[in-house]
Amino acid sequence: MLNTVLLEVGQTGYGLAAIGAGLAAMGAGIGIGQIGKGAVEAIARQPEAMNDIRANMILTAALVEGAAFFAIVIGMLVVFIK
């Protein structure tokens, strides 16, 4: 009985890892979307600062993506480590 329960948990693990990866993508999307919003509004206010704003936007996007990648790495661990 415990064996079948554990087998169920094994398969559920893969499904939950996939949901986790999806949530991570959603989080990254929202975060980077807000960065983009702030950057575009700032450029609209002051077009001369476009280069500085673009550089900061790309840098901040890389940092936010780092957080999303944490969740992806955990998902990969679930799938690939027995």
Binding site: L59, A62, E65, G66, F69, V73, F80
Partner: protein, 366 residues
């Protein structure tokens, strides 16, 4: 009249181009796919992103073309050096000081006469082999040395002459790191950290770019290997710890200007942060590069998965797959530069925090 024929020409050329593309990608014969085993996408992806004892160039099964790299094993019985060709791509075993064989994940294990893995003996092995990642590392180290020693020698020979050739490619990047990264983040003491920052930037950049080239000598997933990024993060951590001054450690262990009861919560969090920041550096670079490798591999695996169902479907998917993979490849090119820049920038920021002198704001605020 003229615009109509130009549009017609454009449409005909596009259709012709797509047809040629589709024909070339459909060269897999349907008979062969029934004879060989079913395509395993997971196995193909894992093979391409993990380390191995041979550098695979093309083909598989009978027609495989790969460079056998040396296997160097040190155990309690002594040193064994031999070519990984002796393993016959994982099928044969080699008798040195022990009876060696490759297991399913490509690692060297000890087997007994019945070809069963001997766990106790395997634990005694120290594997110092030149694997694919090590060979790629040596190649990129050689490339870095060649580029920068040449450029440095040119500067020393003609000190006040306008740069040309390789110099004019490398100089703006070095100045960018010195001015926008080091001086801004570290302040007046930036010169001490410049060698490390430049090295880590160009090392990560060269390895990221080499990993994107699909053919030998590129294509080894070095920066997507967590051991490599861990070493880089550990070196940053060591530099920060060694160069931390009293002001830095004071801020971590007993942040000035906060009530005593807050310190009970704050100090463990700060100490955790000291170890967390290099770990995040490690994971960020590793995950970005690993994802950058998995995406084109998954897209190409999709072609073969669909082709196994129906060869025409495979042809159609291949056009979309290749187009999407090219687009993602361009994005990954940008990511290669950005990740090298972010690693260097964050290392510089941590160095700056470590050597920062006390300001007047550290005293309690009104």
């Amino acid at each position: 009249m003229i615009t109509a024929t130009k549009t017609n020409l454009k449409y005909t050329l596009t259709a012709l181009f797509l047809a040629v593309f589709a024909i070339f990608t459909a060269s897999a014969n349907p008979e062969e796919s029934e004879k060989s085993e079913k395509f395993d996408a997971g196995k193909m992806i894992i093979e391409h992103i993990t380390d191995g004892h041979e550098w695979h160039i093309l083909g598989e099964d009978k027609g495989i073309v790969a460079i056998p790299l040396p296997v160097i094993i040190y155990s309690d019985k002594g040193l064994d050096v031999f070519s990984s060709g002796k393993f016959e791509h994982g099928t044969a075993s080699y008798v040195g000081k022990y009876n060696y064989k490759l297991n399913e994940t490509g690692e060297v294990v000890v087997v007994n006469d019945a070809q069963q893995i001997d766990e106790a003996a395997t634990k005694k092995l120290w594997d110092f082999s030149i694997t694919k990642n090590v060979a790629s590392l040596l190649l990129s180290a050689f490339l870095l040395l060649y580029v920068f020693l040449t450029v440095a020698a040119t500067y020393k020979r003609n000190p006040n002459v306008a740069p040309k050739g390789m110099q004019s490619f490398v100089e703006p990047i070095i100045l960018f790191i010195r001015d926008d990264v080091a001086k801004n983040s570290i302040g007046p003491k930036y010169l001490k950290f410049m060698p490390y920052l430049l090295t880590v930037f160009f090392f990560i950049l060269f390895n990221n770019l080499l990993g994107m080239i699909p053919v030998f000598p590129g294509g080894a997933n070095l920066t997507g290997n967590i051991a490599v990024t861990m070493v880089l993060a550990v070196i940053t951590f060591i530099i920060v710890t060694v160069n931390g001054n009293k002001h830095y450690w004071g801020h971590i262990l007993a942040m000035p200007g906060v009530p005593k009861w807050v310190l009970i919560i704050l100090t463990p969090i700060e100490i955790f942060g000291v170890f967390l920041r290099p770990s995040v550096l490690m994971i960020r670079l590793f995950a970005n590069m690993l994802a950058g490798h998995i995406i084109p591999l998954a897209l190409f695996a999709l072609i073969f998965i669909f082709a196994a169902m129906n060869i025409g479907l495979g042809m159609g998917v291949s056009v979309l797959s290749v187009a999407f993979a090219v687009f993602m490849g361009l994005l990954e090119l940008l990511v290669a530069f950005i990740q090298a820049y972010v690693f260097t920038l964050l290392s510089a920021i941590y160095f700056g925090a470590a050597v920062e002198e006390a300001h007047s704001h550290d005293e309690s605020i009104v």
